[in-house]
Amino acid sequence: MALARTHSVALIGITGHVVEVEADIANGLPATIMVGLPDTALREARDRIRAAIVNSNQTWPPHKITVGLSPASLPKRGSWFDLSIAVGVLAAAGQVPRAALDGVMFFGELGLDGRLRRVNGVLPAVAAAAQHGFDRVMVAEANAAEAALVPGVRVVAAPTLAAALDWLCGTPGQRGGRPAAECKGSQVFPGKIPPNGPATSALVPPVPAGPDLAELLGQSLARHGAEVCAAGGHHLSLLGPPGAGKTMLAERIPTILPRLDTAAALEVTSIHSVAGTLPEQVPLLTDPPFLAPHHTATKAAIVGGGSGIIRPGSASLAHRGVLFLDEAPEFARDVLDALRQPLEAGEVVVARSGVTARFPARFTLILAANPCPCARAAGPAEGCSCSPSARRRYLGRISGPLLDRVDVKIELEPIGRKELLNDRSFTESSQTVALRVLQARERAAHRLRGTPWRLNAEVPGSELRRTWPPEPGSLQVVERSLERGQISARGVVKVIRVAWTIADLAGRARPGRADCASALGLWLGVQR
């Protein structure tokens, strides 16, 4: 009898696939059939949509309705197809002009009363829509700001189904309620963040009201290690007794990281959008994320997974930011080892029947651990009661291969009275360090221009050896370590990367002997 076609997006990971929603009204006993691998939430759409349409004072066509979602083999999940199905059914019934549906994407869950509810994952979905040539998207009001982050799309924010239909029919206000509002994409987010001010100072975080690096007294070596890690994107492990400042330092690392640039911010926001952890008021995340999962976290919570919708784990949520594992030996061993692959590849791949989801996961890993279970081992024999084997077992829970991927290993000493008193006036604030970090990052980015990499930690070893070797002869000490078996071949590459970062921080054109030695010292760090 009649057919109408609308469009929406199915998300797999943070990749969007355009889905065509077809609604067919045929003669037959009234029934609604939904085909195209819907999950439970989507199958329930049938009843939600019917109630929403009736309660919006529209007529539900009393015929046989077939709703097809294609490509049919792609699993579709979630409730945001509600709006596209409802509009499709009404268009097939002739209540909405079919021409109005061209080039429009629909995302929104319907309440039984016809309200449009916010959904997760709108940003990557709208980005996919824009990529496939759709220039208008219709979303719930609460999702409008997020959808508008994508440049080049017109966002229609509809409070209710009635308002959405009015907008499509070009009859605002006719069906009652507030009309839909339109805004142009990327209004909120004009390219650079923030829009005014010189680029360099703009990227330094503003004086934070929260934690500041200046509050950490003593621990100059740990501070230096943190600065190197922040500048080069290297991984860090902190070993020390309780109260030495491991957690304090780790929590302050985000304050010395530069703000995210446009592309990174959109990428990070996309991941958080899928996870549903976006704050409603500020849809764009411009600060590097800091994730500190509890040590009881499961593998799925860290690397991603879960039943039904595949959700990103902490490793992906910490993309372009910091993943802090406090009390690292307390984590389950398989959880820690599951991090090895994302540490190398910079992404997490979750395979499921029918689909494989990819989440970017290029984070800075920070491990913190006590030296032994009783945690009184440090300093001049202060009564640690742990046997050597117990200590070895405790730290042995962090597997060798994982530790081999950690570039900077710092051992923190318990802090003394002198440092506590003296350091107050000399410690650098987060702002000072952040500026140095930013300059080092810019130096690295300038050197790496024309390559896909931005940070020293991202440059592959082969490329590093070929294009950016340190000064000749400066690697002698590292090679001696390699011969002695203190360092693996991967370790050598990591040392060179860290050496580059140290040189970048110091403003030297190329790492010299001292930089390499210093990097080796940081790499060897904890001896156990």
Binding site: N27, L29, P30, P62
Partner: protein
């Protein structure tokens, strides 16, 4: 007789009149067996039509057609076979139709006829 039964009876009569006027030959009405009741059994060309008639006085509880669900369709299929066996006849085509009638006041019905539902 209660009001709903009066409505049902007059609905069935209206449906039978409608079928006859559209060229159906009615063989049986309100045929009962242990499995249930067939409202109308008719013949259209070479097809045996087992017809379910549903009458409603309003749409407050949905349209009359909606009331014929899967279970009812399955029962109609079973009944069709039982009717054929009871009468010892064969048809090359058997069809199940549903006729929905909506009472419009002053004795008139709106008739919706759906052919071949199951």
């Amino acid at each position: 007789m209660r009001a709903k039964d009066v409505l049902g009876k007059s609905g069935e009569q209206a449906a039978a009149d409608y079928l006859e006027s559209s060229g159906f030959r009615i063989l049986d009405r309100n045929w009962r067996c242990a499995g249930g009741e067939i409202d109308i059994v008719a013949v259209e060309r070479h097809a045996l039509v087992v017809c379910e008639v549903k009458s409603r006085s309003g749409t407050r509880y949905g349209s009359p057609l909606e009331a014929v669900g899967r279970a009812k369709q399955a029962r109609l299929r079973r009944l069709a076979v039982q009717w054929l066996n009871a009468h010892g006849v064969r048809f090359e085509q058997i069809r199940i139709d549903v006729i929905g009638l909506l009472y419009e006041g002053t004795g008139g019905f709106t008739i919706e006829h759906i052919r071949g539902v199951g």
